[in-house]
């Protein structure tokens, strides 16, 4: 290699990290949301001492998981610059199908596989319409939201499914059980978050998801299979929604056809509060998890503090706006 006179000088430049680890942390959205959760916890703990009891903590840790699982799946979709508002409906459809298939006597493992595939299938249809037909994701998934919810009513004929047959025992044990003192669903959140973050930061797929959100055109010119990657993000979200249905129905012990109604907004809110940018390019699974925790903490805290529950949406809404402002503030200062 032809060393130029200032090559050593350049080397010292290359090794400079732009900012310190601490500075990095102080700039991350996730950090500030953790701070917000702690502050809310401390304040509510003073007003309503019941908030900080271990029973209530366990309650929160169980409740936030369902939104968190889906928010982890939503993260790569939003990172590519997409969105999926059909997840609430998909949760409903996979939930009732789960119940119906258990009731028909299929072994639990087969039912699980089937439910994951149904979820993934809805995602593949969404992703294909978005990628190959270049339709706007919001409209595609709005249509799918209505279509899937209607199919949920069709297959159940508006009946609540609560008799799960033989596989039902396994389902209920999974949904309400725990392992090493930690609820099964919380394990699912932890494992999903770690695996997703690993996928996002250590694999080609994750790199491509990020690149597509940053500059789709550049990604295409670099030879990245943009359409296939996009479809895969929707498919993965669909499958994770199916997985959420398994834990949720197993925990509740019944599948109503209203299951998951309105949940898409909570999921998207959690993802965005956790730092995912709706324009694409940024997001972490940890952010999605902490965003879900925040939403559940707000809900739980207002309840315990005796605030009229109608106020809940106001607080969640304010936090969404706060998160967007924080994002703006960080990106202009950066």
């Amino acid at each position: 290699m032809n060393k130029s006179p200032d090559a050593s000088n350049l080397d010292s430049v290359f090794n400079l990290s732009e900012r310190s680890k601490l500075g990095e942390m102080l700039r991350s959205q996730e950090f500030w949301i953790v701070v917000a959760v702690l502050i809310i916890g401390a304040v509510v703990g003073m007003i309503a001492p019941r908030f900080l009891t271990s029973a209530n903590m366990a309650n929160i840790l169980q409740n936030f998981c369902f939104t968190a699982l889906m928010a982890i799946g939503m993260t790569p979709v939003i990172m590519t610059g997409g969105i999926d508002i059909s997840v609430g409906s998909t949760l409903g459809l996979t939930g009732v199908l789960l119940g119906l298939f258990c009731a028909s006597g299929y072994p639990f493992a087969v039912v699980v596989l089937f439910v994951l595939l149904v979820g993934a299938f809805v995602g593949i249809v969404n992703g294909a319409l978005v990628s190959y037909l270049k339709l706007p994701p919001f409209i595609v998934t709005l249509g799918m939201m209505s279509l899937v919810r209607s199919q949920t009513l069709v297959v159940t004929n508006n009946q609540v499914v609560y008799d799960f047959g033989k596989a039902g025992d396994t389902l209920l044990a999974l949904g309400s059980g725990s392992f090493l003192g930690v609820p099964n669903v919380l394990w699912a959140v932890i494992v999903s978050a770690v695996v997703m973050q690993w996928l996002l930061s250590m694999t080609k797929w994750g790199r491509y998801v990020r690149a597509i959100g940053g500059n789709e055109n550049a990604a295409r010119l670099s030879g990245i299979p943009v359409d296939r990657v996009k479809v895969s993000t929707y498919a993965l979200l669909g499958a994770m929604t199916g997985m959420t249905a398994i834990f949720l129905v197993g925990w509740m012990g019944a599948a109503t056809n209203a299951l998951g109604q309105g949940q898409e907004l909570q999921v998207i809110a959690a993802t965005v509060i956790g730092g995912a940018n709706l324009l694409g390019g940024f997001g972490t699974s940890f952010g999605a998890v902490i965003g879900s925790v925040l939403i559940e903490v707000i809900r739980n805290a207002l309840l315990l503090a005796g605030v009229n529950p109608f106020w809940q949406g106001t607080f969640v809404g304010l936090f969404i706006l706060f998160a967007v402002l924080l994002e703006r503030f960080r990106s202009t200062r950066a």
């Binding site: 290699m1 032809n2 130029s4 200032d6 090559a7 350049l10 080397d11 430049v13 290359f14 400079l16 990290s17 732009e18 930061s201 250590m202 694999t203 080609k204 994750g206 790199r207 990020r210 690149a211 959100g213 940053g214 500059n215 055109n217 550049a218 990604a219 010119l221 670099s222 030879g223 990245i224 390019g281 940024f282 950066a334």
Partner: protein, 246 residues
């Protein structure tokens, strides 16, 4: 032997003759300026060389082989890289990630394969050192100057070990100081034996780095001469048609 030879290349879009009967040769390591007014056929010509669409007629020889590029990846495989005017970089990724986009270095542990961030950073630093550009591999492209962005885009072509780099208006939207930086990058490519076709409207840039200048006017190649035997005045006259040919 010349690196690239175009023989009687034409391209029509319906009744419009965008490029007509153009022939020229590019030698290895040569920097050639391609000039012409808007609509003169520069981009059409470059897009044919880069494989965006085929020529309507004529032949193209690259590196000793007669070639027919049907898509950009064909041209890229042959050793032709294009640096787009808008640079086609992902703002949210680091310089190293951009350099390696679509050609990531992987590390395998058992059955798993994952991104080798370290190796990519080191290799990117090597490329920036070679280009003598103060571009830090870890930095996010969003916060980079125009010159550094060019360095990232050019480093991509170095990674591919391209023999010919097509550059579309690389100095159009950057500050004066950065223009000098980019021109230096182009010269660095030449030192490495890479040929460059520089499309530019900026006379000082073209005369600053190019050995040869070609002028297109309404689809015809009206001049192809050494920069040392021409002048900005003559080239301007050729571009606007005040002088028919040279």
């Amino acid at each position: 032997m010349s690196l690239l030879e175009l023989k009687n290349i034409s391209r029509q879009f319906g009744a419009i003759h965008a490029v007509e009967d153009v022939s020229f040769q590019i030698e290895p390591g040569e920097i050639v300026g391609l000039m012409g007014d808007n609509g003169a056929g520069k981009s059409t010509l470059v897009k044919m060389i880069a494989g965006n669409f085929p020529a309507s007629s004529g032949r193209m020889v690259f590196d000793g082989n007669e070639v027919q590029f049907n898509q950009p990846s064909d041209a890229r495989r042959a050793g032709i890289e294009i640096v787009y005017q808008d640079l086609a970089l992902c703002d949210n990724l680091s310089a190293a990630a951009n350099v390696f986009l679509g050609r990531e270095i992987m590390r395998s542990v058992g059955p798993f394969k994952f991104l080798d961030h370290r190796k990519m950073r080191e290799r990117a630093a090597e490329l920036f050192r070679e280009l003598q550009s103060e571009t830090r591999p870890r930095d996010v492209v969003k916060r980079m100057s125009g010159g550094q962005r060019q360095a990232v885009a050019i480093a991509r072509t170095r990674l591919a070990d391209a023999k010919l780099v097509l550059m579309d208006e690389p100095t159009a939207a950057i500050s004066v100081r950065q223009v000098a930086e980019v021109l230096a990058l182009i010269k660095r490519l030449k030192e490495r034996g890479v040929a460059v076709i520089l499309i530019s409207h900026r006379m000082p840039d073209v005369f600053g780095v190019c050995e040869r200048i070609m002028v297109l006017r309404r689809g015809h190649l009206v001049a192809n001469k050494l920069a040392s035997t021409s002048s900005p005045e003559e080239i301007t006259a050729l571009i606007v048609g005040a002088k028919a040919a040279a």
